[in-house]
């Protein structure tokens, strides 16, 4: 077994080697895809190794080099990062299988570039997960932005260019314009940017003084990947990308890197106690709550399935920001669990959306009525994923909502509980209505009103499903959503050190 200390650098390098292999195997697609999958398996084993070590209480890490005095590129695994790394690498593997099905079925161009960018992006996501200080996190955060740009603009038409411009513009503008000054400011105040339990700013309260709120705001909006409104427009615009990109990057790796960074900064840079004592996070808690409701309201009006899922993601990401800004142990726990639960659930939904597109070239929800009867597996998986996002048991998504409500109660913010309940109701309306309409309604024909179901419910002989590689992955993650519900306790124990327990 490989030592966890070695597993971290390997986890950073293996995807890059994979990228090289993909490039070299440009001419033979089967070998090229094999390179992606083998890289994915190795990477998953490596991150699991680190995960196991962390669960035993170890904190493996290493320092690569010191760029400026007191500013090293260094890595250290802790529970939140190890969790993010396992989710990212595991779902990358699932998504790679899905990508093969999707890209081949659609006869997409530039597939080599596509897989190469993916490999670089996953390496950057691992770098974000294991970063031991803000500086390292910032480096990989920017690499993640740049490496996903070719994926967003994959189609290369005017629409893709416009989406790419907004994607890069918002993410770079927020990160260079707000996040970088925030990091430098933190460095000037604390003399370091290391993540330390309890928070590094907590020891310099005098120097920060009343500016805690401003600094926190720079981080909250500077981390554009967390899509806290109004820094969210990049996410809907990123939907011009092929669906595997939306499924993995814009439901898992990129967006989770953002909220992960927010959680880490709240826990290890500010310290929950500092925020609780100063009350600096209260305004941002309300902004997150507003973001949850507003994004849901917008999602409700989207007829394009991917756009609706994107706004749903904006809303769901703000749950995590909300958990951090509640500044209570249970809030943080809820946020951390939401990272895992939402990743599985939302990825399922996106992969289903892609499967629908591959099989029927349909992107509008209004056109999907009755489609469930020819694609029962896809819409079945969609149904489970949507249940999880709403937060119904026995789905993984119910736990984070539970912990967030506990956290809100601890913080004495009863109105937040109301917000969470309203949001779940909105989710029911705009997510669960999709599979329900797909199963129980007749397709609308030429402007006629859709009718109720008639005749045989599902004709098993006449299914028109997407290729197996496009259906198996969402069914797998949908099963994962149920499994995670029952494994919430080990996860809770694993994450306990975050809030000072365990």
């Amino acid at each position: 077994m490989i030592s966890p200390g070695l597993a971290i650098p390997l986890a950073l390098w293996v995807p890059l080697l994979g990228c090289l292999a993909i490039w070299l195997l440009d001419k033979s697609p089967n070998l090229r895809e094999a390179a992606t999958l083998i890289t994915g398996v190795i990477l998953f084993v490596l991150t699991v190794t680190v995960f196991m070590a962390v669960s035993e209480g170890q904190r493996p890490g290493f320092q690569a080099l010191e760029v400026i005095d007191g500013l090293p590129i260094a890595f250290q695994a802790e529970p939140l990062g190890a969790l993010f790394a396992v989710i990212a690498s595991g779902l990358w593997l699932v998504n790679s299988v899905y990508s093969i099905g999707y890209m081949r079925a659609g006869n997409e161009k530039n597939q080599t570039r596509f897989y190469m960018s993916f490999a670089v992006a996953i390496s950057a996501a691992i770098g974000v997960a294991f970063a031991a200080n803000l500086f390292t996190l910032f480096i990989f955060y920017e690499v993640l932005t740049l490496s996903t740009f070719p994926l967003v603009t994959h189609k290369g038409d005017e629409k893709a260019r416009r989406g790419g411009r907004i994607y890069l513009g918002v993410l770079m503008a927020t990160s260079i314009g707000l996040l970088l000054p925030a990091i430098v400011w933190t460095y000037v105040i604390a003399g370091t940017t290391d993540f330390m339990p309890g928070g590094i700013l907590a020891q310099h309260v005098d120097a920060v003084g009343p500016l805690v709120g401003i600094l926190l705001g720079l981080y909250a909006f500077g981390i554009g990947k967390a899509a806290l409104m109004p820094a969210h427009p990049w996410l809907p615009n990123a939907m011009v990308a092929p669906t595997p990109v939306s499924a993995f990057l814009h439901a898992v790796a990129v967006v989770k890197a953002g909220v992960f960074a927010i959680l880490k900064i709240v826990i290890y840079i500010f310290g929950i106690d500092l925020l609780k004592d100063t009350g600096a996070s209260i305004p941002f808690m309300w902004i997150a709550a507003g973001s949850i409701l507003l994004a849901s309201a917008i999602a409700m009006n989207q007829d394009n399935l991917k756009a609706r899922l994107a706004y749903s993601t904006v809303s769901q990401l703000s749950y995590i920001t909300l958990g951090a800004m509640l500044a209570t142990s249970m809030g943080v726990m809820g946020g951390a669990m939401q990272i895992a639960a939402h990743a599985l659930g939302k990825m399922t939904l996106f992969m289903c959306a892609g499967a629908i597109y591959v099989a029927h070239h349909k992107t509008l929800i209004s056109e999907m009525r009755g489609l469930g009867r020819v694609m029962p597996f896809t819409f079945g998986a969609f149904f489970l994923g949507a249940m999880s996002i709403v937060g119904l048991p026995p789905m993984a998504g119910s736990w984070p909502k539970f912990f967030l409500m506990l956290g809100a109660a601890d913080a004495g913010q009863l109105a937040i509980i109301v917000v969470l309940i309203i949001s779940s109701i909105l989710n029911v309306v705009y997510l669960l209505s999709i599979p329900v309409q797909a199963f129980y309604m007749n397709p609308a024909e030429e402007g006629a009103k859709p009718q109720g179901a008639g005749g045989a419910f599902i004709d098993w002989g006449a299914l028109k499903e997407a290729p197996i590689l496009c259906i198996a992955p969402p069914m797998f993650t949908a099963a994962g959503v149920i499994a995670l519900f029952f494994f919430a306790d080990p996860l809770y124990r694993f994450l306990l050190p975050l809030i000072g327990g365990g």
């Binding site: 080099l65 760029v67 400026i68 603009t153 770079m172 314009g177 970088l180 430098v184 460095y187």
Partner: protein, 501 residues
């Protein structure tokens, strides 16, 4: 008398003696090889000098054995040693790069004159940097400027507008030089000396109209030379119409040397005892630096000529350097010095990438860049990486510059300036992004002047260009050479200036 003792004079003597010899060489490859060899020798001498200064501290060399303040003194501390290494280093890369580019852009009959002028320009820039004598600064400044006027005018072979650009620069540059020499004259009247260290001693406590006027003349004169906003009007045309290799060389070196001279006069000649220095920092350099950062960046945004865009970007980047030194702290001065080095690396690489495009397409208009990623991928990626460096993305030198500058701004209590700095680098994101989008996402035109199938630039151009790109990345992750030396240089400068180190 051994060579080691004479080391300080070598960076000036080698190119100075070699320049006229160039004229005796036959047309063709020879002048280029000769100039490249000389630039490498000069670079080697400068590297030795940096390590000598780093070990021994300040080196003072008396030219011709005449003892200062009567004789001319070459005085090398870490600050100018770094600039010397930078100028000669850029020269050794650009000279190697120049051959193919010059062959298509400059009249072949002028090629010997071209390399001769390049060497004279190099001599002048190194002389300005190395000398410890105020009048000597003027002499070398004129040597470098005169040769630059000629070099820019050689761009007339491709575009006649190079002639007016060179003439404009000649007029503005001469005004600047005249102002500078008037300032030196006034200081000489007040003190009776031209040696910088001696000037510093004798100016202590002097604060009369003559010295104040001298100070003002010097600041404006140097301000013209370094293209301090709004004295930058000569620069965009000069950079745009000069032969591409010349643009790469002077964009990376000439203005940087002028910024160094400004630092030298502020910190080593006048010092903080002189009341006007603090005044100039707060009311001249700081606001003009900030204004330049924004206005020039915004102008760059609307340029359809990539060389002109990069030229305006240079004016903006000079704003960062002025801003850093105007904080009057070790951190600020370090940021300024580091950015002098780093900006040379990125702008040099960017102009070289444009030179490659000009070599193949014959144009530096934005349209010529359409779809280049497929036709000239190596050049495209050199441009994009150096462009990312200009924006300040981590793992590049641009990020290191930004980091030092932001740290300095926060530490000096100018937190607002930090936000203005990042805001202006976002403008850089947009104008670099325009070109990058053109290269990556547009289809190559199927008709019109740029429709011809275009090959990658030749290796003799690609290799030197990628040396600079690699330097952009290497010094972006290792700062023990740039950052640490610059910090020590800044501490020494602050000590002389009388500020708290």
């Amino acid at each position: 008398m051994n060579l080691a003792e004479q080391l300080p004079v070598l960076p000036v003597i080698i190119p100075l003696v070699a320049a006229p010899i160039t004229l005796l060489l036959p047309q063709g490859r020879a002048p280029h090889l000769w100039a490249t060899l000389i630039s490498w020798l000069t670079f080697a001498a400068c590297i030795f000098l940096v390590s000598a200064v780093s070990d021994a501290g300040v080196i003072s060399y008396h030219l011709g054995g005449w003892v200062p303040p009567l004789g001319i003194e070459y005085r090398i501390d870490l600050a100018n040693a770094l600039v010397l290494a930078l100028v000669s280093g850029i020269a050794s890369v650009v000279f190697a790069f120049a051959y193919r580019s010059v062959r298509v852009e400059v009249d072949p009959r002028q090629s010997t004159f071209f390399y001769c002028a390049m060497l004279i320009c190099l001599t002048g820039l190194l002389g300005v940097t190395i000398t410890g004598d105020a009048f000597n600064v003027f002499v070398f400044l004129e040597i470098s400027s005169l040769s630059t006027y000629a070099l820019i005018a050689m761009g007339a072979n491709r575009d006649r507008r190079a002639l007016t650009a060179a003439f404009n620069y000649l007029v503005m540059g001469t005004i600047g030089a005249t102002f500078f020499v008037i300032g030196i004259g006034l200081l000489y009247q007040a003190t009776g000396t031209l040696n910088m260290a001696d000037l510093h001693d004798r100016l202590a406590g002097q604060s009369n109209r003559m010295v104040e006027a001298g100070f003002a003349f010097i600041v404006v004169g140097i301000g013209l030379k370094l293209a301090m906003f709004p004295l930058h009007l000569w620069l965009p045309n000069a950079y745009t119409y000069a032969p591409s290799a010349v643009s790469a060389f002077i964009a990376a070196t000439a203005t940087k040397v002028a910024v160094y001279v400004l630092i030298r006069f502020f910190y080593s000649v006048f010092g903080f005892d002189f009341g006007f220095v603090a005044f100039a920092f707060t009311y001249v350099l700081l606001p003009l630096g900030l204004a330049g950062m924004f206005i020039a960046s915004l102008v760059a945004l609307f340029q359809d000529d990539v060389k002109r865009m990069l030229a305006y970007s240079s004016v903006a980047q000079i704003g960062y350097m002025l801003l850093g030194l105007s904080f009057a702290t070790v951190e600020g001065l370090t940021a300024s010095l580091v950015h002098i080095l780093n900006h040379a690396l990125m702008k040099g690489a960017l102009f070289m990438a444009v030179a490659c495009v000009v070599f193949r397409t014959g144009s530096h208009s934005l349209q010529a860049f359409a779809g280049l990623a497929k036709r000239m991928p190596v050049t495209t990626w050199a441009f994009i990486l150096s462009g990312l460096s200009l924006i300040g993305v981590p793992l590049t030198v641009g990020f290191i510059s930004k980091w030092y500058l932001l740290t300095a701004a926060f530490a000096a209590g100018h937190g607002y300036a930090a936000f203005l700095i990042v805001a202006s680098s976002l403008i850089a994101l947009v104008y670099i992004g325009r070109v990058a989008e053109m290269m990556l996402l547009r289809e190559a035109p199927s008709e019109g002047p740029y429709a011809i199938p275009i090959k990658e630039a030749p290796l003799s151009m690609l290799i030197p260009m990628w040396v600079l790109v690699a330097a952009n990345i290497y010094f972006g992750v290792r700062t023990d050479l740039t950052g640490d030396l610059a910090t020590r240089a800044a501490e020494a400068l602050m000590l002389v200036a009388g500020g708290a180190p």
